[in-house]
Symmetry: C2
Subunit: 339 residues, 2 copies
DNA sequence: GTGAAAGCGCTAACAT
DNA sequence: ATGTTAGCGCTTTCAC
């Protein structure tokens, strides 16, 4: 059988309390006994059991990672990269992360992820937009929480966000710098804070350059920012306003949809239409032409969220910084062109 | 505070043993008491603590998922999809999975993932090729193991594999069917069982069609199947044998590298060279031209591995099936052409 | 500086 | 059919 603290105590000729104190590196243990105990721990190849430790300390060294089904199923590795980011940090900090998905249409009857109910996590990271009903239920859990890429409407929270306004601004400014004036915006779900912020950035850029905002050039009525919606939106935009020379889509998936529409209808990118996306997913480089976009540091977002979490847990006090804005970056490729 | 089994027992007017038996749905509890207990559990919103349960049952309801650093860091979502596959199954079976990476150059001094040492997992799934030194250390752990996409040299194991020989066979046969005779093979690390199996399939296809195997057309000396290696291999192949009309690369990343080389050197795909990959990653559709490839059911592999695991754990007996071969499928796109 | 002992929240004999 | 009780492997007062 795997050795327990008792075996170590017996073999080292000390009490189990002493062994425990040695493990937690307590100061009031003399160096000789400490070394003796450490030696037998090595000999026995002893490691404390997490379950036993957890029972008494009420900690698990696990962090929960929660996102909705449809985000989980997205083919673009956006949330998976955020997840990977959390993993990078855990390796240095002795935590593990448990992934759980919740129903996109979370209802009153749905229960919280099991790890919350069974108390097998010390904190949770919530990635992406989640249903309000879920947030309500979650708020009853007194457990440290960090939100990533989504800002819950109520209260103040620990949160890691993309600098979306700036992203929208520099994307649009880039198009303006290239001489475009009739610039369309394709949004997706405008009730999503990220999307509405990017729209704010878009409008700010136009205003700063004294370009009138034309609501006909703004499409925000597709509720999910997927490829097909980009296709549909492009069709709608380009048929109703033939003066458009540039399009800013709120993510790369929709930009790919726009590209497909353009291929299908003989519109050349970037010769007829300049196109800029948002996210910078791996596929962008393989597109024809490679997509100009706004890079979002996905892995870094996960890392920052996890660092916030670990700090909260370690200090057991309120961390000073509650909101982290990760910076975005303009990546110019070949889908935009000066006119 | 969160209620414990004691609170439930007191409120329901029964012993904690009764509550425990009700929770595990034991038969020897009368329906009336059962209902009474169930009712107070609801009222108190009680959920048993995993740590406490784990301490006595020596189970955690967690499964470890282990892969090497470099597989973890791969941009192609190959192993992440396998990981997602395990998640799909856990949702139905009340398990969580803990992800851990190990050093690609695992040395004698490196220790096993913490979750193994602290016994916070009931089993482990090992994905992809892992170092022998790691396997040696791991073999000392008496814990259920399932391997995915890699076949450890020694012993018999529970393993989920791609049908690589068949994949190599149908890929090559497809090229032969399209009239190609001078078909090159780009491998990567030939010591990897998957790669050597694909080479076996390649050779089988040639033999069946009475095409002489030309070792000059086979490149297996690049040790990692990445994009750049595909580029280098294509350069080497096409400069030393200008008769080659088709290339079979052992994964899509290398195929993309081949494509880049061809673009750089003015070779048209599929007009001058037909190209077939292996894996069917998301990016394939975005390539120009879209890549013909062998589809590997990545998510399904993860699911199958997890199902195997759960079955082993549930039955506590040796599962009958020890080896699962997941099928592959030829996906014809535009990078191959009849001659 | 070290040990004894209580107890964390459960499960599983063993009684009744 | 239900209750009593002894642990599971640790941490943590509190004595000494």
């Amino acid at each position: 059988m795997t050795p327990t603290i008792k075996d170590v105590a017996k073999k080292a000729g000390v009490s189990i309390a002493t062994v425990s104190l040695v493990i937690s590196n307590h100061s009031r243990i003399s160096t000789p006994t400490k070394n003796k105990v450490l030696k037998t721990i090595k000999e026995l190849n002893y490691y404390p059991s997490r379950s036993a430790k957890g029972l008494v300390t009420k900690t698990t060294r696990n962090i929960g990672f929660i996102l909705t089904d449809d985000h989980f199923l997205r083919t673009e590795p956006f949330y998976s990269n955020i997840f990977l980011g959390t993993e990078f940090v855990t390796r240095g900090s002795d935590y593990y992360v448990l992934l759980a998905t919740i129903n996109t249409n979370f209802s009153k009857e749905d229960s919280l992820p099991r790890f919350l109910l069974e108390r097998s996590v010390d904190g949770v990271i919530i990635a992406g937009k989640v249903p309000l009903l879920f947030l309500e239920k979650l708020s009853k859990c007194k457990i440290p929480k960090v939100f990533v890429d989504y800002f819950p409407p109520s209260d103040d929270h620990y949160v890691v966000l993309i600098d979306n306004i700036k992203g929208g601004l520099i994307a649009t400014q880039h198009l303006i710098d290239y001489g475009h004036k009739e610039i369309a915006f394709i949004g997706g779900d405008i009730t999503h804070p990220s999307i509405s912020d990017r729209l704010i950035g878009y409008k700010q850029a136009l205003e700063r350059n004294s370009i009138t905002i034309n609501s006909n050039n703004i499409i925000t009525d597709e509720d999910y920012p997927a490829r097909q919606n980009g296709y549909n939106a492009a069709q709608k935009l380009l048929t109703r306003n033939s003066n458009i020379t540039a399009i800013f889509t709120c993510n790369d998936a929709m930009a790919i949809g726009v590209m497909q529409y353009c291929v299908d209808s003989g519109i050349k990118i970037p010769d007829n239409i300049s196109l800029i996306g948002f996210d910078d997913v791996e596929a962008d480089l393989l597109l024809n032409p490679p997509l100009t976009t706004i890079r979002v540091p996905k892995v870094e977002m996960g890392s920052e969220a996890m660092k916030l979490m670990v700090n909260m847990l370690r200090e057991k006090s309120v961390a000073s910084v509650k909101k982290i804005l990760v910076p975005v970056e303009l990546i110019i490729r070949n889908s935009t062109k000066k006119i």
